[in-house]
């Protein structure tokens, strides 16, 4: 009797394990399928993707990967904007990022920012890059204003893909962290979703409604992290990038 029960128990355990395996494989297939479908829209063939998947599977991917180099310039620009926004020296009397001169003199100028964050670039190239990503605009011949505090990738396929890869990596990282976190409610990293079926028109209204909120949350998060990272007592500590990423989606 005891023997029969033990056998049944181990059979149940085997069944549960194989069932978990089936679910895991189905989810892995779905994840790979979603990635493959997106990569195909960027012009990669099924055969090439199989080859790339085999290559990726064979070696350990490093944290310093392809997206880092593609996004490096955008990150330099984001850091430049951060300083322009957050450093009191670069604000005008109303508290907003000041219109900066393109003069070569020491002190507050766009030239100084460009040299700090793009040491190998000419100021003209930095200006062109800023205009292309719609964050700055020229005022007359010798001044420049910040018109957006977020580097926009819209319409730029390689940058969007690199941004996507980084986002997926971050999302997977948060998922992994939460998988290992304890059962206490506040041990995991926040990961929330709101989802309801709506019409095209309602969706457009929703985007209009939520855009300023999203921008504010990102600005608040950025300010908190930036100010804390600048404090002298934190400067020497071992640091890893952290942040908040928000996006609107439609299935």
């Amino acid at each position: 009797m005891t023997r029969r029960m033990t056998t049944r128990r181990s059979r149940l355990a085997v069944t549960a394990k194989s069932s978990d395996r089936i679910v895991l494989e189905a989810l892995a297939t779905e994840l790979l399928g979603a990635c493959i479908a997106t990569l195909k829209t960027h012009g990669l063939s099924a055969g090439k993707l199989v080859e790339l998947a085999a290559r990726a599977s064979a070696k350990q991917t490093s944290r310093k990967s392809a997206f880092s180099s593609v996004l490096a310039e955008a990150e330099c620009l984001a850091n430049l904007l951060n300083k322009w926004m957050e450093n009191p020296k670069y604000r005008d009397a109303t508290g907003r990022p000041a219109v900066l001169s393109l003069g070569k003199g020491a002190g507050r100028s766009f030239t100084a920012l460009a040299r700090e964050f793009f040491p190998a670039w000419s100021v003209v190239d930095v200006l062109a890059f800023g205009a292309k990503t719609r964050v700055i605009e020229r005022i007359g011949r010798d001044k420049v204003a910040m018109i957006n505090s977020t580097v926009l990738f819209t319409g730029n396929a390689p940058l969007i893909l690199a941004h996507l890869v980084r986002s997926v990596r971050r999302l997977l990282g948060t998922g992994n962290f939460n998988r290992r976190a304890g059962s206490e409610l506040l041990e995991g990293l926040p990961d929330r979703t709101s989802i309801v079926a709506v019409s095209d028109e309602e969706f457009r209204e929703f985007v209009k409604f939520i855009r300023p909120q999203v921008s504010d949350w990102i600005e608040m998060s950025n300010r908190w992290l930036f100010q804390r990272s600048q404090s002298t007592k934190n400067k020497a500590r071992n640091k890893r990038e952290a942040g908040l990423q928000i996006f609107v989606f439609r299935d």
């Binding site: 009191p88 604000r91 109303t94 020229r138 005022i139 018109i147 921008s215 504010d216 600005e219």
Partner: protein, 269 residues
């Protein structure tokens, strides 16, 4: 009264009304709004005048008021249903420059990536204030519109001929009857909430504050700008959420209605 008599009366009335028109202009009251106000006062006064001069105690009929005032009886009925004031239909049209402010806050061309109105060049750089006016208030001179908006305190002139919008709707800033009236209403609302919370601690209305934080006075513009932008976004969002909630509740059950609002106030000491 003959034609000459009416002309003399019109001249005399003009002298009397001119200072009032000046005041209206200063307060941003438009001609259609002033006309609507005058018509409303005219109709209400006519009814009172007819009642005083009548031998009976009954109120004069709408038809009689209509005959005396020259206003159609349907309008008389509508006007007398409310206290004297500017008709809602006229008031909604508001100041023409209000269309420029509204477009500045909603036309994607004039918004930044966060969906908020961006600073504009006066005319040299596109998108410019000049184009904004030409597109949304055709026929108006951009320079005149700018002067009017600046006078009302609704547009801030920045360096390098750049402009920043400060409000979505046209309302004169400063000490004027409209703003004093609103100040009174806001003070009353705050006191009502505080009094309610003292009397009914079991069912309090929301009333909370941040801790006062001491800052360098030189950083005040930054802090004011931050509070204005952050709180403005939040209030817009909560207003939309409340409106949606109110709409969905109304369709299900009718009953006593209560007006609910949220006011945010910056304090400095």
């Amino acid at each position: 009264m003959g034609r000459n008599g009416k002309a003399a009366l019109a001249r005399a009335a003009m002298s009397a009304v001119e200072p009032l028109v000046e005041l209206f202009l200063e307060l941003g009251v438009t001609s259609p709004e002033a006309e609507s106000l005058l018509r409303s006062v005219f109709v209400h006064k006519a009814r009172q005048w007819l009642a005083n001069s009548s031998a009976t105690t009954a109120d004069p009929s709408d038809v009689r008021v209509s005959l005396v005032t020259g206003v159609h009886r349907n309008f008389v009925r509508r006007i007398l249903a409310e206290p004297p004031g500017i008709a809602a239909a006229r008031e909604q049209k508001g100041h023409p420059a209000g269309r420029v402010l509204e477009a500045w806050h909603s036309d994607p061309k004039y918004l930044d990536s966060s969906g908020k109105p961006r600073d504009l060049s006066e005319k040299d750089q596109e998108p410019s204030f000049h184009t904004l006016v030409l597109e949304h208030l055709p026929g108006a001179s951009p320079g005149m519109v700018l002067a009017e908006l600046h006078r009302a305190g609704l547009v801030q002139l920045l360096s390098e001929h750049r402009l920043r919008v400060r409000n979505r709707s046209f309302r004169m800033q400063g000490i004027n009857p409209g703003n004093i009236n609103e100040m009174g209403a806001q003070a009353r609302e705050l006191l009502e909430t505080l009094t309610h919370n003292l009397r009914r601690p079991d069912a309090p209305r929301f009333c909370d504050s941040t801790r006062s934080i001491e800052i360098d006075a030189g950083r005040l513009p930054i802090i004011r700008d931050l509070i204005a932008r952050r709180t403005g976004t939040f209030l817009t969002a909560i207003e939309q959420e409340l409106t949606m909630l109110a709409g969905s509740v109304r369709s299900r059950r009718a009953g006593k209605r209560i007006r609910v609002g949220l006011t945010a106030v910056e304090t400095e000491r």
